[in-house]
């Protein structure tokens, strides 16, 4: 606390020549040269008012009289300007590096890059504007049918999922409880292990492979601004066959009349990394000839506990942007660089979790013509904030001698895992006919 007071006072007194006496926390004007404060650089805290930079005024016709020949500073004479000295060779310890303007990939026009650490201010709204998409709350009915289908369930599903959660949340460490950075990826791998066991029943599930640490690159223009999606995004489940489009042609045509939501006065480029040195690259992360070219599901983790963690709306925006980036790269490979409406829309799923809350997104890319805000839009189905369980406590929470939350796993919701499993099975398994009949 004392440090905060010191810092605030120092910031307030910046450039005034006053400093703060740390012992008594009072502002004093004192001789700062004698006081050496080793914990921070003096320039950082304004202990000395920076000297006023005087611009050299060039008046044509008038000769500037400088103290260059005297070789010492004289109060009335101007400071001489010498030509820049070139060493003649590149000393790596004294090399400031090339300036942005001198780099070969420098462009005047800025490009706004979305990477894995970007947290958009306007969240889902901004992501929808950037990807020219229409939002539909809830998952598409094909996936919901599959979730309610009793045939596509694991044996002892509830018991096994609760065991998987308990392993991740309680049993996986020698300490009392594992940290979120540990239990979040372990929970995801346990749930995927359970889902994979169903490939005994549905052999087409084995035509898939997981890829981690791959980098995607995709670029597009939206209303005269250039945007890019770049970098490592998460764990990708690739498959040999693409996902079938989820919305009918009529629904796709109906998006033409939808108006994208803007958030004036905030610019749509907010929170995106502005770069002038860039390459307009379209890359799926995999070379040509890869046996599993179609992206099926992207799993994004939010394992951090500190300020670096993603809020739900930021995580949902990240899911939408990376799903869009992956699909756009693949669409450009299939249909070419020209912006156009796709005959067969491309579909991809994204699941994000922080170890307890799951977010589900299904993205359908209908068009690569993204320059104007009119025309056919892409479709996003979003199912937000689905809890897998309410609490996983090592010790019971007791308030006024009443057990409010018991120890162990409580508040387990099987529907969330069924949606997770349905999204895993989607594309390889059709829901059984009786479920469809009961739904319709």
């Amino acid at each position: 606390m004392a440090e905060l007071v010191v810092l605030r006072s120092l910031w307030n007194n910046l450039g005034t020549g006053k400093s703060i006496c740390k012992r008594c926390l009072q502002t004093k004007t004192c001789d700062l040269i004698a006081v050496r404060q080793f914990y921070v650089t003096s320039s950082l805290f304004g202990k000395r008012r920076p000297p006023a930079i005087e611009e050299d005024i060039e008046i044509p016709g008038l000769e500037r009289i400088t103290f260059a020949d005297r070789m010492y500073r004289v109060p009335g004479l101007a400071e001489p300007t010498f030509p820049e000295w070139n060493r003649g060779w590149r000393d790596p310890f004294q090399d400031p590096g090339p300036k942005y303007e001198e780099m070969p990939l420098f462009k005047e026009k800025a490009c706004y890059v979305f990477n894995q650490k970007t947290k958009l201010l306007e969240g889902v709204k901004q992501a929808l504007w950037l990807t020219k998409s229409k939002l539909i709350e809830g998952l598409p009915k094909q996936i919901l049918c599959l979730a309610e289908d009793p045939d596509s369930r694991i044996e002892n599903e509830d018991d096994r999922v609760q065991r998987a959660i308990s392993h991740a949340r309680f049993w996986d460490t020698t300490e009392v409880r594992p940290r979120k950075e540990k239990y979040c990826p372990v929970l995801l791998s346990n749930l995927l292990h359970l889902c994979r066991m169903l490939s005994l029943r549905y052999p087409s599930l084995s035509k898939r492979i997981l890829a981690e640490n791959y980098k995607v690159a995709a670029y597009w223009t939206r209303e005269s601004s250039l945007f890019q999606v770049r970098g490592i995004n998460g764990l990708l489940l690739n498959s040999t066959s693409p996902l079938a489009p989820l919305a009918t042609q009529e629904e796709v045509q109906a998006t033409e009349s939808h108006i994208l939501e803007t958030f004036y006065p905030v610019s749509p480029t907010i929170d995106l990394q502005e770069v002038h040195v860039y390459e307009e690259k379209n890359d799926t992360g995999f070379r040509q000839g890869y046996p599993y070219p179609h992206a099926h599901t992207l799993y994004i983790l939010n394992p951090l506990e500190t300020c670096a963690r993603f809020e739900p709306y930021q995580l949902q925006a990240k899911m939408i942007m990376f799903a869009f980036g992956n699909l756009l790269a693949r669409a450009r490979l299939l249909y070419g660089e020209q912006p156009r409406v796709l005959e067969t829309p491309l579909v991809m799923q994204t699941i994000a979790t922080n170890g307890r809350m799951f977010q589900f997104v299904v993205f359908q890319l209908n068009t690569t013509d993204l320059s104007s805000s009119d025309g056919i839009k892409n479709l996003v189905w979003l199912d937000r904030d689905q809890e897998l369980y309410a609490y996983a406590k090592c010790l019971p929470e007791i308030k006024k001698k009443i057990v409010v939350v018991p120890a162990g796993l409580s508040g387990y919701r099987p529907e969330t895992f069924r949606k997770f499993l349905a999204m895993y099975l989607h594309g390889a398994v059709q829901p059984s006919i009786k479920t469809e009949a009961s739904a319709s």
Partner: protein
């Protein structure tokens, strides 16, 4: 039995004599007439708990053992055995010490047999036989085997060719190219073989788990300090981080009976462990199989280890240590599997003074992506400390193979020279299960 009056008993020399000779004080004629028919009137005379004497130390040790025997749960038993922190040797599973496998065999009382147990050598892929209590059936049909082979090849090519990757960091090449490949390979194996091996359906697959074990073996006389001259047990700790492991709810059957006469000898090393070199540290003593005791899957099936770049055979060949390639793999297998099986046994309530009543069996595969070595381990005894080891004929057994390549090279988008035998052995390893299933 001699009888003494109460006044004479006050003499300390007499008291000591009485302790040695187990005499009893009688103080009336009724008792003197029929001494054997009655229970003792006074509680047994025991040595002091707090005195600075050998008898008192022995009494303290006995009280401690009584507490451990009487512990109400396994967690409490393990807590009592590991609560006291003392300096201990930290045994690294991936070590650069020369001939570490003989030292590790000595520390863990393991006999090494080259080759795999009879179960893997007798039963081929195409035989249907019932040998004793182990059932071997037609492991994998040809189409399934081809599918597994193609999955392996694709996973290998994905990491080495298809995925665009930057150059790996220093000493992280194997992890960079082969860790994700092994992730996919292990998942594919577990999924495809779950049809034949129902145990794998109930299994739990851990990635980058933690395995710890703490034990005592041998004694040493403290050379200097205020405890100079006192006898201390030598403590060891293994902290292992395999690449992945499969844990199952049912125990794997034994390869050989508990009292099998092992043809190989356990090497005895007279030098102290510091000479290996092994270094001492003091920190929490952990006994951990990868999950806590409350998990239903407390038995181990197979571990997969990825060796570090420092143990890569290319480096060892350049440093004129070609013979050490297999030695290091053996040392890794013995230490990792001893720690895993030992921890599994402790989770069932066994410890050095309550030796195992059934053998604990686990397997491991150590690889650098191209070369695979297969090891099986049977834990027959946990009684390794000096008190319990003096009359213990049992030895732990480790079987192992030399490293065999899975493929020759990866060129562009093609895997050349794929070795089916290595994959078949891998499949056999994962199909090992109890007779009932």
């Amino acid at each position: 039995m001699a009888a003494f009056c109460v006044r004479c008993v006050g003499n300390s020399k007499l008291t000591n004599y009485m302790q040695l000779k187990q005499v009893r004080i009688l103080h009336n004629e009724v008792l003197a007439q029929s001494p054997t028919a009655l229970s003792p009137l006074y509680p047994p005379i025991l040595p002091s708990l707090t005195a600075k004497s050998k008898a008192a130390k022995q009494r303290r040790r006995d009280e401690y053992y009584k507490k451990v025997y009487a512990a109400p749960s396994v967690q409490e038993k393990i807590r009592l055995l590991t609560c006291l922190q003392r300096l201990k040797y930290v045994v690294n599973t991936q070590t650069s010490a020369i001939n570490a496998d003989r030292w590790y065999q000595h520390f863990t009382k393991t006999a090494y047999l080259s080759g795999l147990p009879e179960h893997f050598t007798n039963s081929g892929m195409d035989q249907v036989a019932e040998t004793g209590d182990i059932v071997t059936s037609k492991a994998l049909s040809d189409p399934d085997f081809e599918e597994l082979k193609s999955l392996f090849c694709t996973a290998l090519l994905q990491e080495n060719f298809y995925m665009r990757k930057r150059t790996p960091f220093l000493y992280r090449t194997i992890e960079h190219y082969f860790s994700p490949f092994l992730n996919n390979a292990v998942s594919a194996l577990t999924t495809l073989l779950a049809a034949q091996n129902p145990l794998l359906k109930e299994s739990s697959l851990d990635f980058k788990p933690q395995v710890n074990f703490y034990w005592m073996r041998g004694e040493r006389v403290v050379p200097r300090g205020h405890r100079k001259g006192s006898v201390d047990p030598i403590r060891f700790q293994i902290d292992d981080h395999p690449h992945s492991q499969i844990r199952v709810p049912k125990q794997l059957p034994e390869f050989v009976p508990l009292d099998y006469k092992v043809p190989a000898e356990v090497p005895v090393i007279k030098l102290e462990p510091d000479r290996l070199p092994l270094f001492k540290r003091q920190y929490d003593n952990h006994i951990f199989i990868g999950t806590k005791v409350t998990d239903p899957c407390v038995y181990g099936h197979t571990q997969f280890h990825l060796i570090s770049d420092r143990m890569h055979r290319g480096r060892l060949t350049k440093a004129n240590l070609e013979d050490q390639i297999e030695v290091r793999l053996r040392a890794n297998a013995i230490s990792s599997l001893f720690a895993w099986t030992g921890a599994q046994a402790m989770y069932q309530g066994f410890w050095s003074h309550e030796d195992v009543t059934r053998p604990f069996v686990s397997q491991c595969v150590i690889t650098d992506g191209k070369y695979y070595s297969f090891f099986c381990y049977q834990l027959n005894t946990l009684a390794l400390c000096v008190e319990t080891d003096c009359n213990n004929p049992r030895k732990n057994i480790c079987w192992g193979t030399e490293s065999m390549p899975l493929y020759d090279t990866v060129e562009e988008n093609d895997v050349k020279g794929f070795n089916d035998d290595t994959l078949k052995l891998l499949v056999q390893f994962l199909l090992y299960r109890p007779k009932a299933l």
